[in-house]
């Protein structure tokens, strides 16, 4: 299924040219099909995890293995279902955009990667998919690549999640090492399923693992203090924001925490750091969110807040908290994706997302308004929606925690009130507020842009009315995969009149009243509110670090790469001399056991030829003469190869020498004309320096040759190849057999390097030409 999505992603740009407007419908079939398949699978079968495994890198214990348990399937269904609706939505959203094929490609590729994340049983494979989602997210945020703000936001998101990803990789590697330490078969060490056999909590690496893994999860799920990338990511096209940055990708961190909960959870470090970060995120998201006037950023901050809540609940790890987390997670995915699509419709229809410029859209966008209302009810946590159930469970889970919980509870009620306000701002103000100028020209979105919000908002309502559905289909199973024991969900809208239920209900009422009061109080301030908030500490740290990195990089590059070829060559040679000479001197201190060789007249003549060529090259004052002299040396070396039984090398060297002369002759075309005077007039110090470097290099190579002559290779290399070449490689030319058969992978790498070097030359020369052409064009 992942493969299918990847293929679809690859085809999207090609199809985009043909299909035009119907592309959304066409492309939506793929994730829709996947969703239906998953749905049938879940509805029919007993709740037993399935597993598939292909060997990939057995030496490293990395297998591509997928496991579908309740948790994975819950996420997968969300990914496919919302994915299908978003794809459909995008078809109309991008109508008329000729580049939208790329958008679909990224979107479907992301879908494939995300499914990979949730199904992977192998930590390393999970990491690879994890990074793929980051990259897809980067491409989607930067989709409007002309806008600098979009590119910057994309880079921020990529760097933050990428850095987290690296931490995550370290954490995974540590998990693997710890598991092997504790007796897991190394071939299985990175398999999550194999971790059940050991208790990582008692391993000395445990704290490091927790810190690293949580860094990965927090950056991905925009937890404090890494939350700042998410609102910036709103530069992405709205469908991408709806999908990646509210419903799916940002839940990957939560997924990871939930997935590792049975193996790492239930310790003080784990619970405190997760609930702490979650609570802080919740508060920050709520507080900063209220100051936004861009609807998308508003929703982004509310996403941050909800992610905080869910993270906090998962971290607590009790079955009640996990239940609440899962319900909230689903409810949030449903209503937030719906609301994002609503905002997309508003933006599309009215041409603005600024809250103070919107109002009275009820008449113009009646269908969008309906979806917005239903989704907002779920967001505000009013009955009878899934959001309400989630919030009730959330409060109930807090109540069982004692004094610590009560403190959190106060904060939670405040944060939820803020969510109520945001829900009102998004769904009430634009539609039912006083009509404004841009609203009068607004128009309703078409059908494919309405199906998504309707369906998702409706789902929130239906699951709220019949919570048993959620429970039976997946909820209990998913919760059981986290807490590792059967969980009874018992979801209901009305819990009867016991004391706890009453308190929870009272809290809900308090939340809503508080929210409405706050909204009324804030209403007058929309006009003035919402100047860009000052960057938070983490954000400024990030900006400062990035700027510093650029500065250091620029300074370093300026010092090392000053544009003078002689300097480059000198640096390279000096590094070579410094690096090689130390071990070499050590080797030369011992007497070398070199077998004496007898030289005949031919050898001496050739040696003389080479030497004459080299000396002449150094002395001849013209470029062409020097090159020709160098060619003499080269041909002399080729002769040596030919005499001593390396015809392949000799042949190659001769041709290379010829080509070198041609290329150098062409290159000198481009160089400033240096007459012999110019060459001679270079200062004495420089000449001495250059001669010193050259002599040192010569000495180095001589020493190397002597030293390597003294090394007696394990004689078998040559014999091995001459013996095996014909029977195994079917070739008599050992050199060639090695190149194309025995060591073909090396050759493959080498020719890729050759091709890339060619590209580099092309790019450099063309760039220079463009740079040279530009001033002329500006002058004319």
């Amino acid at each position: 299924m992942i493969l299918l999505l990847a293929v679809a992603a690859a085809c999207a740009p090609l199809l985009a040219r043909r299909a035009g407007r119907g592309l959304g419908w066409l492309m939506a079939l793929v994730p829709l099909g996947s969703a239906v398949y998953l749905g049938i699978d879940i509805a029919m079968g007993p709740h037993v995890p399935w597993a598939e495994r292909w060997t990939w890198m057995p030496a490293l214990g990395v297998d591509v293995s997928f496991v579908g348990d309740g948790l994975a399937l819950l996420f997968a269904v969300l990914i496919c279902l919302i994915g299908a609706l978003i794809t459909l939505y995008s078809g109309s959203y991008f109508a008329g955009d000729s580049r939208c094929g790329r958008f679909f490609a990224y979107l479907l590729a992301f879908m494939a990667a995300m499914l990979g994340v949730v199904f992977s049983d192998n930590l390393i494979v999970l990491f690879i998919f994890w990074e793929l989602t980051s990259i897809a997210s980067y491409a989607l945020i930067a989709y409007k690549s002309r806008a600098k703000s979009a590119r910057d936001a994309a880079l921020t998101a990529l760097l933050v999640t990428g850095a987290g990803g690296l931490a995550l990789l370290c954490g995974f590697v540590l998990i693997g090492m710890a598991a092997v330490d504790m007796g897991v078969d190394p071939a299985q060490a990175s398999s999550i399923a194999a971790l059940h056999a050991v208790d990582l909590r008692s391993h000395p690496y445990y704290t490091a693992i927790v810190v690293l893994v949580l860094l990965g999860a927090f950056t991905k799920s925009a937890q404090f203090p890494f939350h700042f990338w998410l609102p910036g990511a709103m530069a992405a096209p709205t469908p991408a924001s709806a999908y990646l940055h509210s419903a799916t990708m940002v839940k990957a961190g939560i997924y990871l925490i939930a997935r590792l909960q049975p193996h790492l959870g239930d310790t003080d470090v784990w619970i405190l750091s997760i609930t702490g970060a979650g609570a802080a995120t919740m508060v920050i998201g709520a507080v900063v969110g209220l100051r936004q006037r861009d609807l998308k950023r508003l929703l982004a901050y509310s996403t941050v807040a909800v992610l905080g809540i869910i993270t906090m609940l998962i971290g607590l790890g009790s079955s009640k908290a996990v239940k609440a987390a899962l319900v909230l997670l689903c409810a949030h995915a449903l209503y937030k994706a719906a609301l994002f699509m609503v905002v997309g419709n508003i933006d599309h229809g009215a041409g603005t997302r600024m809250i103070d410029r919107l109002g009275g859209l009820r008449r113009r966008l009646p269908y969008t308004a309906m979806a917005a209302l239903v989704a907002a009810i779920s967001m505000a946590g009013l009955p009878p929606t899934l959001g309400f159930i989630g919030k009730e469970l959330f409060y109930a889970a807090k109540l069982t925690l004692g004094p610590f919980g009560s403190g959190l509870l106060v904060v939670a009620v405040a944060a939820n009130s803020a969510l109520v306000v945001i829900a009102l701002i998004v769904a009430f103000k634009p539609f039912f507020g006083p009509a404004t100028e841009p609203a009068k020209a607004a128009h309703e979105a078409d059908l494919s842009m309405l199906i998504g919000p309707w369906f998702l908002a409706g789902m929130g309502l239906i699951l709220g009315l019949w919570p048993g559905l959620f429970d039976q289909i997946l909820g209990s199973w998913a919760a059981a995969s986290i807490v590792n024991q059967p969980v009874a969900m018992d979801l209901a809208l009305w819990h009867g009149l016991n004391s706890q239920a009453v308190i929870v209900l009272a809290l809900s009422a308090l939340t809503i009243i508080g929210g409405i009061a706050l909204y009324v109080a804030m209403r007058g301030r929309f006009r003035t509110a919402g100047t860009a908030p000052a960057p938070t500490l983490a954000e400024s740290l990030y900006n400062g670090a990035l700027a510093g990195l650029y500065r250091v990089g620029a300074r370093f590059a300026a010092a090392v790469q000053n544009g003078h070829l002689t300097r480059y060559i000198a640096v390279v040679l000096l590094v070579l001399i410094a690096g090689v000479s130390i071990p070499l001197v050590g080797a030369l201190l011992h007497p070398l056991a070199i077998e004496p060789i007898s030289l005949d007249v031919t050898d001496c003549a050739i040696a003389a030829l080479i030497a004459i060529g080299a000396v002449a090259a150094a002395l001849i004052p013209t470029y062409l003469g020097a090159i020709a002299a160098l060619g003499i040396s080269g041909l002399g070396i080729a002769l040596t190869f030919a005499l001593y039984g390396a015809p392949d090398l000799a042949l190659t060297l001769i041709v290379v020498e010829v080509l070198t002369v041609v290329v150098l002759a062409l290159v000198f075309h481009h160089l400033p004309v240096h007459s012999s005077q110019a060459l001679r007039s270079s200062s004495r110090i420089r000449t001495v320096r250059d001669v010193a470097i050259a002599v040192a290099c010569g000495a180095l190579v001589t020493g190397l040759t002597l030293a390597s002559a003294a090394i007696h290779l394990p004689a078998d290399a040559a014999t091995y190849y001459s013996k095996t070449s014909v029977p195994q490689g079917y070739g008599h030319n050992i050199v060639n057999v090695i190149l194309v058969d025995f060591r073909a992978l090396d050759t493959l790498g080498e020719i890729v390097v050759v091709a890339v070097a060619g590209l580099g030359v092309l790019a450099l020369l063309r760039l220079r030409r463009i740079a040279a052409a530009r001033p002329e064009r500006e002058a004319t």
């Binding site: 042949l651 041709v655 080509l659 041609v662 490689g729 008599h732 060639n736 020369l765």
Partner: protein, 134 residues
């Protein structure tokens, strides 16, 4: 920079070098030669052409974009690498199909070598043409 003598001799020499390069490429598995040397030989011939007739004429004579030649070569190499996987062997494990007597043995190794040949020709030509183009 081209004399009549150079122009007159260049054409047949280029043709001969091209033929030799293919000969060297094909015989490479059993005697000195192979894709790398073959590619260099052809490039040498093309360099001669370039010196004699100028870069435009060479580019016209080659017809293909140097980059496409490189890309084609890389594609062939990758195909040669992947075909064994399809047949159930390891990556790059040589597959031999049949032999044409006195010419070559046909298999993934030959495809690989032709790929090397093309990459060398394409890249070297790319560099030559870019440098010569003014």
């Amino acid at each position: 920079m081209s004399s009549i003598i150079l122009r007159a001799t260049a054409r047949p020499l280029v043709a001969i070098l091209a033929i030799i390069s293919i000969f060297v490429l094909l015989r490479g598995h059993d005697a000195p030669g192979g894709g790398f040397i073959g590619g260099l030989l052809l490039t040498g011939g093309l360099a001669l052409h370039l010196v004699a007739f100028g870069s435009r004429a060479t580019a016209r004579a080659v017809r293909l974009e140097p980059l496409s030649i490189t890309a084609g070569g890389l594609l062939m190499v990758v195909i040669a690498a992947v075909v064994p996987l399809v047949q159930g062997d390891e990556l790059l494990q040589a597959q031999w199909w049949f032999a044409i007597p006195h010419v070559a043995k046909v298999g993934t190794v030959l495809i690989f070598d032709i790929g090397v040949y093309l990459v060398v020709v394409g890249t070297a030509l790319l560099i030559l043409l870019t440098l010569a183009e003014e």
